[in-house]
């Protein structure tokens, strides 16, 4: 504990802190610059295209916020991939029959119920969240298919589609509002409340959290419920933007969302994470999708390139953190 030791520890801390924090921003910038140069004649840099990227990533960003809480608590939620469709379909069906409020509440409620089911199995039956949510991912993929016999349900309520999809308020599209509000509230809860601190402590060292008087099962239940509820909200946003609900909604989002969260600086094993990082990670994934399409890659090539880039990004951010 000499002074030399102390300053060395301080130094190491500073180094790691910087790298870890900036990986996602550097990656974002690198991909942005790459596309800006390569696609300079293909309209990548137009305001329209860039705002499209933000609009398209809104549901994934919302899901990513929930996943930051889940992963920070040391759990995982794979079921979000099918919760989105269940919530969207439940909302669309109820909306048509019982009106706007009922539709919205049913959509969010469906997501919340899936989350509570996952959470109860994880927190109180003490099953690993990976297995629980892998099972419920499949289970609710089946439920969403059987709900309407694979049919797509149109959403015609213009208030709903305006509020959750194509509308705008003060000249800013509603999807951007949803993203901004969810990120802001999520960030404050995550960083500035006792609940957020308890989520991090639970993921970091569940025993320490428990002997410190934190109810670890309640935290686990809560993060799964939050994730389910936000997946439900993502379902509403999809239904609003596409003016229809279908069992395929959200199907391909799972990998994107997990990658966004990890690239954004959230540890897979819990104890550390960032909502803002997840937002930037999500935008980065959206930009990647958009750029690869503009580059004219075939769908299969897009999937391959995207997979490789996600692999590289995840590897870099995990290397930075595992020191």
């Amino acid at each position: 504990m000499s002074s030399a030791n102390t300053s060395a520890a301080g130094q190491g801390l500073a180094n790691r802190f910087n790298l870890q924090q900036y990986v996602v921003y550097l990656g974002f910038l690198a991909i942005f610059l790459f596309f800006a140069v390569v696609l300079r004649d293909s309209g990548f840099l137009t305001v329209r295209n860039l705002s499209n990227i933000v609009l398209q990533t809104a549901p994934a960003t919302i899901m990513a916020i929930g996943l930051v809480f889940v992963m920070s608590a040391g759990e995982i939620d794979l079921s979000i991939g099918s919760t989105v469709a269940v919530a969207a379909l439940a909302a669309a069906v109820t909306l048509g029959q019982y009106g706007l409020i009922a539709g919205v509440l049913t959509g969010l409620g469906a997501g919340l119920l899936v989350g509570l089911l996952n959470g109860a199995l994880v927190a109180y039956v003490k099953l690993p969240s990976f297995l629980v949510t892998l099972a419920t991912l499949g289970l609710f993929a089946g439920v969403s298919r059987s709900m309407t016999d694979l049919r797509s349900i149109p959403v015609t309520d213009s208030v709903f589609t305006g509020f959750f999809g194509s509308g705008a308020f003060l000249g800013i599209p509603s999807l951007i509002w949803w993203t901004a509000i969810a990120v802001a509230i999520g960030h404050i809860i995550y960083r500035e409340t006792r609940f957020g601190a308890h989520v991090l402590a639970t993921g970091d060292n569940a025993r320490a959290a428990s002997v410190s008087g934190i109810s670890v099962p309640r935290i686990r239940l809560a993060v799964m419920a939050i994730s389910g509820c936000l997946a439900g909200l993502a379902g509403l946003l999809y239904a609003g933007r596409l003016q229809a609900a279908k069992y395929t909604l959200g199907e391909t989002d799972l990998m994107t969302v997990i990658a966004a969260v990890i690239v954004g600086g959230t540890l897979l094993n819990g104890g550390r994470g960032s909502i803002i990082g997840a937002l930037v990670g999500s935008l980065m994934m959206g930009m990647l999708n958009n750029g690869l399409i503009l580059m004219g890659l075939s769908v299969s090539d897009q999937m391959i390139v995207r997979g490789l880039i996600i692999l590289a990004a995840v590897a870099v951010s995990l290397r930075e953190k595992s020191r």
Binding site: A9, T193, A201, G271
Partner: protein
């Protein structure tokens, strides 16, 4: 510090008995710890020290016998209740959240909030800094992440946390088992400084040298039975070893 009759013991265990499905782990254990006193609990592996610590920290309830804190009989069914009685435990594994800052660990589970329900970081940092300074725990800053600290620094943080919250008693479970010589000396200094705060300290240690350096009294446990309590100044290692092993000194 010699226990005086004027002071009520912070902790009094009377005829504590604990059986696990018929098997006796602790029998007829009685002990008093006075404010400002350091009592060492020694005994071989399996003598029942951990069971006793768990009883005092509220994890187990005794099968029979009473626990009193400052003369008041208490029943505790979990660690939270023990904490609300002013008892803090420094666990062998320290129970620190490694990825979090020192100040968040200091307030783990008991974070203060401001009028808006948001974490009062300024207060946590200020209180951490003053306590760390007072106890002379040498850490880079209250913002440092636990896993960047050395073993001695971590132990210092765990003890500082217990000190911050304990109003009556601190239980230390093998506080220096994983530490080097210099770090052990530093931690012992911190433990000795706790006497000034007028709280009781019950320490478990395998190092008799350490027990003789720190404690005012030594309580020996063998196979769940209390063999005896000695004033440290009036005994020697041979007697304690004989009591621990049950063999006569040569």
């Amino acid at each position: 510090m010699i226990p005086s009759e004027a002071n009520a013991p912070v902790l009094k265990l009377q005829d504590i008995h604990k059986t696990f499905s018929g098997i006796t782990a602790i029998e007829n254990f009685s002990l008093e710890v006075y404010p400002g006193e350091i009592v060492a609990l020694v005994g071989d592996n399996g003598a029942g020290k951990s069971t006793l610590i768990k009883i005092i920290s509220g994890v187990y309830s005794p099968t029979s016998g009473t626990i009193s804190i400052e003369g008041e009989t208490v029943t505790m069914s979990n660690a939270t209740m023990a904490r609300s009685h002013g008892i803090e435990v420094v666990y062998q594994d320290l129970a620190l959240a490694d990825q979090q800052s020192v100040y968040m660990n200091m307030f783990l589970g008991r974070e203060p909030v401001n009028g808006f329900g948001l974490l009062d970081r300024r207060r946590m940092i200020a209180e951490t800094e003053s306590l760390v300074k007072e106890l002379d725990v040498r850490i880079p800053s209250a913002h440092a992440t636990i896993r960047d600290l050395s073993g001695g620094q971590r132990q210092g943080v765990a003890i500082a946390r217990a000190t911050h919250w304990a109003s009556k008693l601190i239980l230390l479970d093998e506080p220096t088992a994983a530490l080097g010589v210099a770090e052990t000396a530093k931690v012992e200094e911190i433990v000795l400084s706790l006497k000034r705060r007028n709280i009781g300290v019950l320490i478990i240690s395998h190092s008799l040298d350490q027990v003789f350096r720190l404690s005012d009294r030594i309580c020996v446990l063998r196979r769940g039975k209390q063999i005896g309590v000695r004033e440290t100044a009036k005994t020697d290692k041979n007697e304690i070893i004989a009591m621990i092993t049950g063999l006569q000194p040569v």
